[in-house]
Amino acid sequence: MHSLIQLSIVVLLLPLLSFVILIFFNRRLPRRGDFVGVGILGTAFAISAYIFWTVIVQTYDPAFRVAWNFTWIDLGNVPGVGPLQIKMGVVIDNLTAIMLAMVNLISLLVHLYSTGYMAGDKNYGRYFAYLGIFTFSMLGIVLSDNLFSIYIFWELVGLSSYLLIGFFFEKDSAANAQKKAFLANRVGDIGMWLGILILYSQFHTFGFSEIYANLAAGKFTLSNAWLTASGILLFMGCVGKSAQFPLHIWLPDAMEGPTPVSALIHAATMVAAGVYFVARIFVLLTPDALHVIAFVGAFTAFMAATIAITQNDIKRVLAYSTVSQLGYMVLGLGVGAYSAALFHLVTHAFFKACLFLGSGAIIHAMHHEQDMRWMGGLRKHMPWTFATFTLATLALAGLPLTSGFMSKDAILAGALGFATVEGGGIYYLIPVLGFFSAMLTAFYMGRQIWLVFFGESRTHLKPADDHHADHHAHDSHAAHGDEHHEEHGVHEVSWNMRAPLVILATLSVFFVYSPDPLDGAKGWFMHMIQTPATVVGSASLEKPAALATAQQPLLAEAAVVGAGHAEKDVPESAAAEKGEEKGGHTFADPRQAEIAHATHGAHYTAIYISSIMVVLGISMALIVFVFKIIDPDKTAEAIRPLYLFSLNKWYWDEIYDATFIRGSVILSKVLSWFDTNIVDGLVNGVAVTVRKFAFANAGFDKYVVDGMVNFTAFSVNTTGAVLRKLQTGKVQTYVVMLIIAVFGYFVYYVTKLVY
């Protein structure tokens, strides 16, 4: 067992340990045991940092991969299949290493931040326990080497997000939100599960590498439509977790959870898991599936951006921007800009976490005021927050010199290239939507910055009626008990909440990733993460049977090139890697190669357009909110329908509520009525008829059959009663009878005698 594997397993299990300790003993530990959580996460981060160092920095090899697995369930000698085992395992490659480090880092920072933010909450200890189990399941997703365990951790992530969203479960809104989130995820999960089933029913294995090997060997006997279907179904899992278009509704509501949780789960890690998963299964996605993914991503990015413009809740704005950014990533994957998408995943994780933690600081300082309309002028009061928040905002908007700029424009370049390769037409919609939402992003982020930090404080403008409706719930009281009641001033947050902001802000500057602020492709990241060869290239679309023959030579030469290209040669990995990616910019799949080439061509165009868009957006924000040339309210009035449309989030909630939720509730009522009245009624009806017949039968028995018996008894009885009268008990009566009898006999005798 490779040492890295052991380390990674330790990393995986540490947060679970923290969960177990805290869930059982948090009340017995001092400070409710928050130091346990922070400490354990610190250790975990240290180890994962070591892994990162070894994998990324020391063995600077794109094809690096070590794997280990064990038999989890042994089904014995299954008829029709032969010996069959279900394996569980761990795989470490570059992507895993990076994700490990990222997840642990953000989780650690959030733990640290929470010690300040959640201080004094009555379930303080349990909160850290939940953070622990979330981190555990997230790491599980990152590390697992097969679909089954990914599905397991996938659902566990759903569980922990359920627990954390509903942390303030006494608020009905929170309870609803957690239920909504879990169910939406479940819908995605069953799609993903069906996708897994399609693959399993073919290969009787869950492991990635086995599946890819079988696929490359053309063992997939169903029609190719099934393969596309499996791809899209698996993507549904991502749609659920990463809040893509049909199932995006849960993410904004999830903001009911504590703000650090929003930062950790609903900005940085969990929602990114979907993208990570699609990246893992990228190689078995057929071009059709990729097209679907690309369009879904583009649409989501655009829609979320339009909604984000008009939201007033600071966290909701960020939530929708998250959805939109995730749309970017999915779009990137769809167009085959694999590494760009993952790059954006990482960068976005950092700056969006920074933004959320910053907003958390603001909310904390504003005594749980979340509505931007009543903020403003915080620039002076909270300089640290202001600085970090602005930096992160620039990164999100995608201004040059920030990490966001590099990743986003890589994706857009990929989109352009994709469009050109696919031959224009409808496919140009994708880059167009991308650029447009880039502009919108710049606009609403500018709006947010202005509303929050500049201008004068508008706290007093807040109408008193809904003052602290439920924001001022128990936690605010508990959290900052009395010191707020004496001095109500806004103040900078304490160090343990400031430090994470600073760290995250630094991580959203370009030089962390690439020496060239304009081209992320020159950086280490894009080098380490490279687009894998898909085992179902366009060549294999027509006749999957020929896929094996079509694929083998390509793979072979790819392997050669990869081996030649790689700085450090890791034979085991090169051998283990069939369908997985190869070193260098060589692609086993001609289509990918084409797209990559076109992307290179489109690189600078993308930069220009996107920069223009961003500048456009920001200047619009300035025009509207700084120079007041256009009055936002008047504009809103002017385009009221559009404004409402955006403000009400395109009415998705209403639509779903009217169709699915109401529908299923009504259906359930109907069915249970059917059950009690029709099915059960039928049963009872049978029972009743049987009883009726039985009663009739019983009547016959009682009055006729039994009647005869009783009549006999009765007659005997009466005769007895009559005859009893003769038994007077007087001797003389008997004598009389005797004599009468004798005389009777005599008469008889005489008559006999005479005649």
């Binding site: 008829p79 309870a175 069953i190 249970s672």
Partner: protein
């Protein structure tokens, strides 16, 4: 050994018979000891069981006891019918992979049931005597390998169940008890007919006369070609299969025959609900596996699709009905209908994954549903109502209870890491892998979502949010300044007391452990199941890919 494990409760019942009925505590303790002893024996059985032996049918060489283990085989009833030959019924016990797990489950659930019967105050003596009788009958059903013996135990089960529901039940208990009794009797009558028919169409390869031995029956070679249920008599075989299937489906319960279940559950006292859902429902599917399918494999093969459809109906229909319930116990009852649907679906798949999932689901459903009913009982003891809307915000006031409920609820909705998930997953894997039931599986996956829906909804309405205006409990501010919950006439501990923890924690631990590492149970199943699948498929499965 098996006889001991079967008849231990009866012995306890006899002892109780001697105890004066005023000595309630002694009575309880005696039956508890018996249950514990039974559990110990079951564990012993489990440890000494050899998972490499398949069972199911007679081994090669016509060994009459097959590769069963712990076999006990004595002539029981043997009378000479002259023309009809020798009529011999054997006392034939034995276990294989399919039954050993059920034996363990039964022992476990009976012990839990005794514990939860502690609160029964009415006619304790009679209650425990009937209870022990029931325990014996259930255990007997799972280990009997002679069809006649099986039938005897099967019928023996009805009587105590009827009285336990009919005397110790809720307000509408007579109706429910009668309904349960008639329904099951209806099924078993047909079973009797088929049993006789089988007897006259099967020959024991050893002795050459007719036999009731299921081991002999499970081997198609032992059938007389032209007998009433012989291979040549196709129509009658189909009819026999159908009526037998209906008989077992009533116990499961399968869709059109399920309506006795909610009534019985709602009316029955908590321990009886636990037994009913934990063990009795399994007898239906166990009977299918042990009797219905192996004896008529070709009919089963033809009927897979139909069974699968009914399974899917159970899953989704049950989930929807549960979604609409106001009574918590009724919701749980419908949820177990839905979960037994998974079992049917897995059986219908007819391949190892599906069967494995089905059997594992049988075990897990036993433990999980037992938990659910115990938890319902806990809240009912305190609040004297089960209306979901009468609660709310409980988790602030009863944290321990809320925690266990959360575990149980999530186990029931198939959360990974808890045992329910693995069984459902395997059911779907199997159902999807077989061409016959692929599309059914696709539809039934919806059951996962709706299962989550009704469970989470009830969880939210009862435990989250704040106290409802018309809640079944009051709030009062205690000495320490915190709010405390207060039930109107509940003297006992507010949160779970130690007895309830002793009942619930083992189940929870089992659920979690088997969710992480299922091999302890699955390991015993696999060999038998692979053998069973071979028996069930006359032709090699082409549906696998």
């Amino acid at each position: 050994m098996l006889s001991l494990i079967v008849f231990l409760p009866i012995i306890a019942g006899l002892i109780i018979l001697a105890v004066p009925s005023s000595q309630k505590q002694i009575i309880r303790i005696v039956s508890l000891l018996a249950a514990i002893a039974q559990g110990v024996l079951a564990v012993l059985l489990w440890r000494t069981y050899d998972p490499s032996m398949a069972g199911i049918t007679a081994a090669a060489g016509g060994n009459p006891v097959g590769s069963f283990q712990f076999v006990e085989k004595l002539p029981w009833i043997s009378l000479n019918l002259g023309g009809l030959g020798l009529f011999n019924i054997e006392y034939f016990l034995g276990v294989d992979g399919i039954s050993i797990t059920m034996v363990i489950l039964t022992a476990l659930i009976s012990a839990i049931g005794v514990l939860s019967s502690w609160t029964i105050q009415k006619q304790v003596k009679g209650y425990f005597i009937l209870y022990n009788l029931l325990a014996t009958a259930m255990m007997g059903c799972f280990v009997a390998l002679d069809f006649f013996l099986f039938y005897v135990f099967w019928e023996l089960m009805l009587l105590p169940m009827y009285f336990l529901i009919g005397i110790w039940g809720g307000p509408n208990r007579e109706y429910a008890a009668i309904k349960f009794f008639l329904y099951t009797l209806f099924g078993s009558v047909f079973m009797l007919l088929v049993m006789i028919g089988l007897y006259f169409s099967v020959l024991d390869p050893m002795t050459g006369n007719h036999t009731f031995s299921l081991v002999a029956m499970a081997d198609q070679h032992n059938f007389i070609k032209d007998a009433i249920l012989g291979p040549n008599n196709v129509m009658w075989r189909y009819i026999a299969f159908s009526v037998l299937f209906v008989g077992f489906a009533i116990k499961v319960p399968m869709f059109p025959f399920h309506t006795w279940l909610p009534d019985a559950h709602v009316e029955a006292p908590t321990p009886i609900s636990v037994i009913l859902a934990g063990v009795l429902l399994k007898l239906g599917t166990y009977g299918m596996l042990r009797i219905n399918f192996p004896l008529f494999p070709e009919v089963f093969h033809a009927g897979m699709f139909v069974i699968g459809v009914f399974g899917a109906i159970n899953i989704i229909y049950g989930a929807f009905c549960a979604l609409a319930q106001q009574d918590l116990k009724k919701m749980v009852a419908y949820s177990s209908i839905s979960h037994m649907g998974y079992v049917l679906l897995g059986l219908a798949a007819g391949n190892s994954e599906g069967m494995l999932g089905a059997l594992y689901q049988m075990f897990n459903h036993g433990t999980i549903t037992a938990m659910l009913f115990l938890l319902v009982g806990v809240i009912y003891d305190r609040a004297h109502t089960r209306q979901i809307d009468k609660f709310g915000g409980l988790s602030s006031y009863m944290p321990r209870y809320a925690a266990v409920v959360t575990i149980a609820w999530f186990a029931s909705l198939g959360l990974p890491g808890l045992s329910g998930f693995i069984s459902e997953a395997f059911v779907f894997v199997g159902a999807f892998s077989s061409v016959t039931t692929r599309y059914i599986a696709m539809v039934s996956v919806l059951g996962i979502v709706f299962g989550a829906a009704y469970l989470l909804w009830s969880l939210q309405r009862m435990f989250l949010g704040k106290r409802k205006a018309d809640a079944a409990y009051d709030l009062e501010v205690g000495a320490d300044g915190h709010e405390h919950i207060h039930f109107h006439d509940w003297k006992g501990k507010l949160d779970l007391d130690s007895r309830e923890l002793v009942m619930l924690v083992p189940l929870a631990v089992i659920t979690i452990f088997l969710g992480i590492y299922p091999m302890p149970i699955m390991g015993m199943l696999t060999t038998s199941i692979n053998k069973l699948v071979q028996v069930l498929t006359p032709v090699v499965l082409t549906s696998m890919n």
